[in-house]
């Protein structure tokens, strides 16, 4: 898209306008303490403990809210609001020593009572935390003293400190927990300025317990429209867009010199999610037909400068227990048609493909629809806004197919949750997952995880496509941007201008 006007006079006026704009934005250009970050998805609200949408975590996690532990860009665990933790010999007691100099943005202190409240709220089904199941191993939370917190576990869980670093387990204060969705109050280096429901403005919290970050002010904008996003990037309104790889113009932008591309990876598995409540999709033959029908390699052509890793199950190749099942269902339209015929859908299957707004989903949806139509399935495409998708697809489960990335790391457990939006109820998998959770021995655990991957592939629970690449585009000079995003977060604290 070009901004060059067609009228010569208009061009002149635009030059004046740009110059005037430069007068005002000159300070901003020279300002090395602020940053504008664009995300495509507008968060439904700003409380990461009450939504499955990664868009909320991307804005607030580690910027506004912090957990007892944190995960860095290399997926390494480190202390956050807890300075240290000890696991009892039987593995059933986890004791955290908390920082003593932490304040919430409303100047209320953080202590073990607050931490206990946060974790008990997390475990309370009424709190609406969509990741609550990850923490069910916590049987009891007790305060040992002002800054010591003890967790009693129902069984040993070596991954619990890792899970406590996720955005679902951030610390919230009893007095502000109920209003965090509109006016978040956390312990992080940034506090949220009054939010009107669109762009989110953060400013440095002067009483933050950690080092003063180089970036003092940040604005998160949300541009779902691809053309508008390309325009914003082309005129320099955006300092960082963390997911630019499917954007058709990102390579041209990078050639300009004022933008750089950081090629990283995420833990997001892109899948064609199937609603098992649909009569046809409840039939494994139909699901396998869909898996054979889709040309994954062709689908990857939406990425101009990278070839993401294909997957054959809901599991990251970065994990040591990964099993390569990419070729479990090779692209074979003829076999797909045959399976459909076997299932009785020779000529009569019609499916609705509901697409969320991310570019990879919209562009990928074209390929999916094309491939499915090639085997005789009539596909109707439905484009949804993110709030609509969360409500219609994720919450009310009113969909047939959807193309989405699951960005939470190590989330294969979602297939053990029959109430999850897949409506996937496989008792064998649920039993297997329970066994995995009980297993502490690494080798045995990896063997069971391999079985789980195999089971999901064999059952064609979903159509597993590829690992979502994380190619961010940022203004040249902006440093500290996470190359890889093992968890969904845009960590401002690590950024600085060079």
């Amino acid at each position: 898209m070009s901004l060059a006007p067609t009228w010569p006079t208009l061009r002149g006026w635009l030059i004046i306008a740009f110059c005037l704009s430069g007068l005002c934005s000159g300070a901003a250009l020279a300002n090395t303490t602020s940053v504008t970050i664009d995300r495509q998805i507008l968060p439904p609200h700003l409380d990461p403990t009450r939504t499955a949408s990664a868009s909320t975590a991307e804005v607030t996690h580690m910027n506004v809210f912090q957990g007892l532990t944190r995960i860095d860009q290399h997926a390494q665990l480190s202390p956050a609001l807890a300075t240290d933790w000890q696991l009892s010999e039987d593995g059933l007691t986890l004791t955290f020593q908390l920082r003593e100099d932490v304040e919430f943005h409303d100047r209320r202190p953080f202590d073990a009572e607050v931490a206990a409240f946060s974790l008990l709220r997390l475990l309370d089904p009424a709190s609406g935390n969509p990741q609550r199941q990850l923490y069910e191993v916590i049987e009891d939370v007790s305060v040992e003293d002002t800054y010591r917190l003890r967790l009693q576990l129902s069984r040993p869980d070596a991954l619990l400190p890792f899970r406590l670093a996720l955005s679902a387990a951030v610390m919230v204060h009893p007095d502000s927990a109920a209003t965090n969705d509109k006016a978040p109050v956390g312990t992080g280096p940034y506090q949220v300025l009054p939010w009107a429901g669109e762009a989110v403005s953060l400013t440095h919290f002067p009483h933050y317990w950690g080092p003063t970050p180089a970036i003092r002010d940040a604005t998160f904008t949300f541009t779902a429209n691809r053309f508008e996003l390309e325009h914003s990037l082309s005129v320099g309104n955006v300092d960082l867009h963390a997911d630019a790889s499917p954007l058709p113009s990102h390579l041209q932008l990078a050639l300009r010199g004022d933008y750089s591309i950081l090629k990283g990876s995420s833990e997001g598995e892109v899948i064609l999610a199937l609603n098992h409540a649909h009569p046809a999709l409840a039939d494994r033959r139909v699901r396998r037909a869909l898996s054979h029908a889709i040309d994954k390699q062709a689908l990857l052509s939406i990425y101009a400068d990278t070839t993401p890793s294909l997957i054959g199950s809901h599991f990251s190749p970065h994990h040591p227990a990964y099993v390569d099942l990419v070729d479990y269902y090779p692209y074979d339209p003829e076999r797909a048609r045959q399976l459909l015929a076997e299932a009785g859908y020779t000529d009569g299957l019609e499916l609705r493909l509901s697409l969320p707004p991310p570019i990879y989903a919209e562009r990928g949806g074209l390929f999916i629809a094309h491939d499915l139509e090639a085997i005789g399935i009539r596909v109707s495409l439905e484009r949804l806004g993110w709030a609509e998708w969360l409500d219609q697809v994720f919450t009310r489960k009113e969909y047939d197919l959807t193309l989405v990335s699951h960005v939470e790391p190590f989330d294969i457990d979602i297939y053990a949750r029959p109430d999850y939006y897949f409506n996937y109820a496989n008792e064998t998998f649920q039993t297997l997952w329970a066994q995995i959770e009980r297993t502490q021995e690494t080798e045995q655990r990896h063997r069971l995880l391999a079985e789980a991957q195999q089971l999901l592939a064999e059952d064609a629970a979903n159509v597993f496509l590829y690992m979502k690449p994380q190619h961010s585009i940022h203004r040249t000079g902006l440093q500290g941007v996470w190359r890889n995003t093992p968890i969904p977060a845009v960590v401002l604290e690590d950024m600085y201008w060079e």
Binding site: I16, A17, S21, N225, L381
Partner: protein, 479 residues
């Protein structure tokens, strides 16, 4: 050292009005306030101008630029929407058709928001309704186009799949093509309307920017004139203040300094004009100079008195013995050349006067005799109180006989002039020993001889003048 009489310095009258109103400080304050007011006025004028510029530039940069950008984006997207319709028309399969429709939907959605943004920026919605209606009509046409293209793709695929094309399919395909042409023509008309409407907004905003810039230029010119006037006023104020300080302060202080630099400044030399602080300072300096001069006079007088006391006898006012002997030493040779006579005079029975009448009367007696000596003897005769009631007389340049005659007259005068103390008259006589210049002898030898004669006079019954005649032995036995 001579002395000058100085006129008494009159006390400078203090002005009745408050010095804050009439003094140098008040005038300085007033002038400074005027300068400050003019300067502040100029600064405020400049600040006001800057504020106006900032507001106008901000308005231009933040609002007008955004309006212009938004309007231009709107115009651009309406054109792109037409381009997307071309992609839709050219679609050979559903992939391309959907891709084109995605693009159409995205552009239509953005256009809708751009219209809302522009309406909000321009605080008016009425004129954008037409644009919005055109957009809706265009999207409607494109949706219709999508249906026709979809039918065309399906029909073409159907025809391609069949070995012998169905005539009905071919007729339907031709009918679809005809409908597509009609829709395209309709779409062109609507898109043209939309483009013109969006372009009109660009023109309106551009003209507004032009007017704002022209107004700004006019305002800058008027503000520049005002600022020049203000700068001139500041310059004049500074000039007045400098002149005032030069004439009212600097030059007067210089004159004062010049007056004070004279070796012996007089109060009348110190300028006192007006009633301001410098006039007060001049009065104070004048009074100070007057005091200094008066004190200097007193010191000189005291010096004269001290000098007199150093050479005179305080009681009789005659020269004292120290002066007498110093004079004889200094003028000894001259006296010898000129010739002299020496005499010693002693009050007879002076002790008796003291005893009978007291020392105060004794002192009166001494003053009485001294007074008669001064009155009786010529001025050229050197007189001195030699000690106690004894006086020394040196007459030079006159004959011994004359001197003897003067002394005799003196003796007679003293004897005939009693000292009156109240009702009492005290008779006083003196004995006098007179010696001439002895051959080869100096003054001291003459006085020694006179003293011996005085002794003889006392022995002879007092109240007489005993003369030391020249003897033959004086010439034989040089002294």
């Amino acid at each position: 050292m001579g002395t000058k009489q100085t006129a008494a310095v009159p006390e400078q009258p203090v002005a009745n009005a408050s010095p804050w109103l009439t003094g140098l400080m008040s005038r300085t304050v007033v002038l400074s306030l005027v300068l400050m007011a003019v300067t502040l006025g100029a600064i405020l004028l400049a600040l006001n101008a800057f504020t106006q510029y900032r507001l106008t530039v901000s308005q231009l940069a933040e609002h007008k630029t955004q309006e212009l950008m938004t309007a231009n984006l709107l115009r651009q997207q309406t054109e792109s929407l037409v381009s997307s319709s071309a992609l839709l028309l050219l679609a050979n399969n559903h992939f391309q058709r959907r891709e084109a429709m995605f693009e159409v939907a995205d552009r239509a959605e953005w256009i809708d928001r751009l219209i809302s943004q522009l309406a909000a920026l321009r605080a008016t919605h009425e004129q954008f309704e037409e644009i919005r209606n055109d957009r809706d009509r265009l999207v409607e046409k494109l949706a219709r186009l999508d249906v026709l293209v979809q039918q065309r793709i399906d029909l073409r695929q159907q025809i391609e799949r069949s070995d012998t094309p169905n005539q009905a399919d071919l007729t339907q395909l031709a009918d679809i093509e005809t409908q597509l042409v009609a829709v395209i023509q309709n779409t062109r008309q609507v898109s043209s309307n939309l483009g013109v409407a969006a372009g009109y907004q660009v023109t309106v905003i551009r003209d507004e920017v032009g007017r704002t810039v022209a107004d700004l230029n006019t305002h800058i010119a008027s503000q520049a004139t005002l600022l020049k006037a203000a700068a001139a006023a500041v310059f004049v104020s500074v000039l007045v203040l400098v002149i005032f300080i030069q004439f009212s302060v600097v030059q007067r202080i210089r004159r004062l300094q010049s007056s004070m630099s004279q070796p012996r400044p007089l109060p009348g030399d110190i300028e006192v004009k007006g009633s301001d602080e410098i006039a007060h300072m001049g009065t104070t300096i004048r009074r100070y100079v007057d005091n200094i001069n008066a004190k200097e006079e007193r010191i000189l007088l005291m010096n004269r008195e001290l000098n007199f006391l150093a050479t005179h006898d305080a009681l009789t006012q005659l020269h004292n013995r120290h002066y007498f002997e110093q004079t004889l030493n200094q003028q000894g040779k001259a006296l010898q050349a000129k010739g002299f006579s020496a005499a010693m005079i002693d009050i007879d029975h002076f002790k008796r006067i003291n005893d009978n009448f007291g020392h105060a009367v004794g002192d009166q007696a001494l003053r009485h005799v001294a007074m008669l000596m001064r009155r009786s003897l010529p001025e050229g005769v050197l007189l001195a109180r030699y000690g106690g009631e004894e006086f020394a007389v040196l007459a030079s340049g006159v004959s011994f006989e004359t001197t003897q005659q003067w002394l005799e007259q003196l003796r007679q005068l003293i004897a005939a002039t009693p000292l009156r103390v109240g009702d009492i008259e005290i008779m006083i006589t003196v004995s006098i020993g007179l010696a001439p210049q002895l051959p080869g002898g100096d003054v001291s030898q003459a006085f020694k001889a006179a003293d011996e004669c005085l002794y003889l006079a006392k022995r002879s019954g007092r109240n007489c003048v005993t003369v030391r005649p020249l003897r033959k032995s004086d010439e034989e036995e040089p002294q």
